[in-house]
């Protein structure tokens, strides 16, 4: 076994890449859940984003336009979920699952003629001299742009939820939709906007997969990332900053186990792969056990159907 080849810097850089798709998707889902809606269709929205972004990036040659298209695609498909759950009052769990099935199929159909193509290369930050500083350079100053953007999105969501009136209203809708409605807030409109934001973010996360991390289009390429994003929201106990921690931890475990293997360590892969989920359960239990703190984080109306009867 040779662990000297394990470079912490390289490890961190690659775990950030591995974590970014789930990070972006999870921050979107966090906003959705904060508004009181549980959308289990993250996987379906991610893969739609992956293919929309890929098609547009290939056709226009611009990854930036690709990312925009991915957000539009993710938001568009989440709109189906929004209409069904908010106007037709369908069950959110079932609708989310149906959305995943629909999204996986639709993406495969759309992508039929896009397998086997290389997308245009997405840029990385490259500041003369600074990006070349050992350790700090690769660690902070030479990622691809989307990694910085993903962190900015998290900051933005944090600011919105905790420091703005809009965020307050959104949280109110998730906490007690009847009371929010009585106060004159448009619960349904708020939730639809939250759902579409969630869709846009899932789409963006998916496009990061098809344009940067892998980068190519193949059917079913999200391979369960959407479900991990869902776990991540819980792990983060609905706190934006903790999404970063959680995503890097989740991504880190995968990257670390691959690296340990490459270094020659004989590790029980299956058991190691369970750990993020077990840790999430433990976090959830610790949080839930303290009733006072739960009420501050977990939206009380999560998954409940709202219909204004007045």
């Amino acid at each position: 076994m040779d662990f000297s080849a394990l470079s912490p810097v390289a490890l961190i850089v690659s775990l950030m890449v591995a974590a970014t798709p789930i990070l972006i998707a999870a921050i979107g889902e966090l906003v959705v859940e904060k508004s009181g809606v549980l959308n289990l269709g993250v996987e379906g929205m991610m893969i739609i984003g992956a293919i929309c972004g890929f098609i547009v990036a290939v056709e226009t040659g611009s990854p930036w336009l690709g990312f925009l298209a991915a957000m539009a695609g993710g938001a568009a498909i989440s709109f189906i979920f929004a209409v069904l759950t908010q106007y037709m009052l369908t069950n959110q769990v079932a609708t989310g699952l149906a959305l995943t099935m629909f999204g996986l199929g639709l993406a495969a159909l759309m992508g039929h003629s896009y397998a086997g193509i290389k997308p245009p290369k997405f840029g990385t930050l490259d500041i003369p001299f600074i990006s070349d500083i050992p350790v700090i350079g690769p660690l902070i100053f030479s990622h691809d742009y989307m990694i910085y953007i993903s962190l900015m999105i998290v900051a933005g969501v944090w600011y919105f939820l905790t420091r703005t009136r809009g965020g307050l209203v959104l949280r109110a809708a998730g906490e007690n939709h009847d009371a929010a409605h009585a106060l004159g807030y448009k619960v349904i409109r708020i939730r639809i906007m939250a759902i579409m934001f969630g869709g846009a973010m899932a789409g963006l996360g998916g496009a990061y997969l098809s344009l940067v991390r892998v980068p190519q289009w193949t059917e079913g390429m999200t391979a369960g990332a959407g479900w991990i994003a869902l776990a991540l929201v819980v792990f983060a106990s609905w706190k934006p900053w903790r999404i970063i921690l959680g995503a890097y931890l989740f991504g880190g475990i995968t990257v670390l186990q691959l690296n340990l293997q490459a270094a020659g360590a004989n590790i029980p892969v299956a058991y190691l792969s369970m750990t993020p989920y077990l840790v999430t359960i433990i976090v959830l239990v610790i949080m839930s056990a303290d009733k006072k703190r739960t009420s501050l984080n977990a939206p009380a109306c999560l998954g409940r159907i709202f219909h204004a009867s007045s």
Binding site: V93, A94, L97, F102, H112, A231, V234, L284, V285, S288
Partner: protein, 361 residues
């Protein structure tokens, strides 16, 4: 603008009409999809909905296969429906299904090659217990720590999938399987094999158990005090408390029933149709069953019909694939549309649509 108005009581006519409406809408939308793909839409719809039931070449085979494919979906959905009525959201049936298959399968393989009629019943029991115990984890965490069972049960699905991977690459790996990550084949071990009951139909013990479960669930919900408790707990937790229903026990029972049934379904599936434990064993039945439970409106008969409808789209979809060369993905899209429509039209049962004059709501 349109306005939704709650009906004084659910419309019985709509209960029957809405599924038909949803299927018709799906046929139209699906027809457009197949037309876009350059296929004859009428032929495609006929192959998916009609041929598995009535085509003279394949139907004699596919009709019983509908039951085989639907059986695990229905069994799992039945269990889930109890919890859903009581607002207890077990969405980890997939994990319970897997753990049931592992537990029951492991018990059977432990006796290999002893032959005894007692082995299979013991495996079924172990399967049910495996699923039951796996569901008890979210139940316990909910009761003791108030942890959200939706999230805990979902996380446990992924733990179960990885556990299955560890088992088939480790203790349960077949000694004669060339190191492939698969368990010993149950059809080579008669005492543990859940074989065909009627030749050439594929019908196995699990299908019978499913039918029995539908009947039992129907009676329980309609005529038994337990059904009443579950419904009260769902509709009004406080009223339930006053009438002496302990919410913790409801949580444990609801999760326990759904886990046990899912585990049993897993055991029947792995020892029969699947034939062995492998990393390919989980196919998402536990998730599809959630949809089936809702399509069936949490009613045992409805769930049975919904399960059969799902099975029909799977089997019809396969026929359409090789007869019309439509890609597998288009069938997935088609199924997604069917689910959307099914869920959407449900609103007509409890609400009616009124043309509303512009006014302040």
């Amino acid at each position: 603008m349109f306005k939704l108005e709650r009906r004084p009581s659910p419309s019985n006519a709509m209960v029957v009409l809405t599924p038909v409406l949803a299927v018709v809408l799906t046929m139209i939308a699906g027809g457009i999809l197949f037309a876009i793909l350059g296929k004859n839409p009428f032929e495609a719809i006929r192959i998916i909905f009609w041929d598995p039931l009535f085509n003279e070449v394949v139907a004699s085979y596919t009709r019983p296969q509908l039951l085989v494919k639907a059986a695990p979906l229905i069994t799992i959905a039945l269990g889930l429906s109890f919890g859903y009525r009581a607002n207890i959201w077990n969405i980890g049936a997939e994990g319970q299904f897997i753990m049931g298959a592992i537990a029951g399968g492991a018990v059977g393989l432990a006796f290999y090659p002893t032959e005894s009629v007692l082995i299979f019943p013991l495996m079924v029991l172990a399967g049910a217990i495996g699923g039951f115990l796996w569901a008890m984890i979210p139940a316990f965490l909910k009761i003791k720590f108030n942890a959200n069972e939706i999230l805990v049960s979902l996380m446990l699905v992924y733990v179960a999938i990885n556990f299955l991977g560890a088992m088939v690459t480790g203790p349960l790996r077949s000694p004669v399987g060339m190191n492939f990550p698969v368990s010993r084949n149950f059809n080579e071990y008669p005492s543990a094999y859940n074989g065909e009951l009627v030749a050439n139909t594929g019908l196995h013990m699990g299908v019978l158990v499913t039918l029995a479960a539908v009947i039992v669930a129907y009676i329980l919900l309609k005529h038994h005090i337990f059904g009443f408790q579950v419904r009260t707990a769902g509709q009004s937790p406080r009223a339930a408390k006053f009438s002496g229903v302990n919410p913790n026990i409801t949580v444990a029972i609801c999760l326990g029933i759904s886990g046990g049934l899912a585990g049993m379904a897993g055991l029947f599936e792995v020892t029969g149709p699947a034939g062995k434990l492998s990393t390919n064993f989980p196919l998402g039945y536990g998730f599809t069953a959630i949809i089936v439970a809702f399509l069936g409106r949490l009613n045992p008969i409805g769930i049975m019909l919904a399960g059969l409808l799902m099975a029909l789209t799977y089997i019809g979809g396969e026929l359409a694939q090789f007869q019309l060369s439509v890609p597998a993905a288009s069938i997935q899209v088609f199924q997604g549309m069917l689910l959307f429509f099914m869920l959407a039209v449900d609103i007509l049962v409890n609400f009616r649509i009124r043309l509303a004059k512009k006014e302040v709501a």
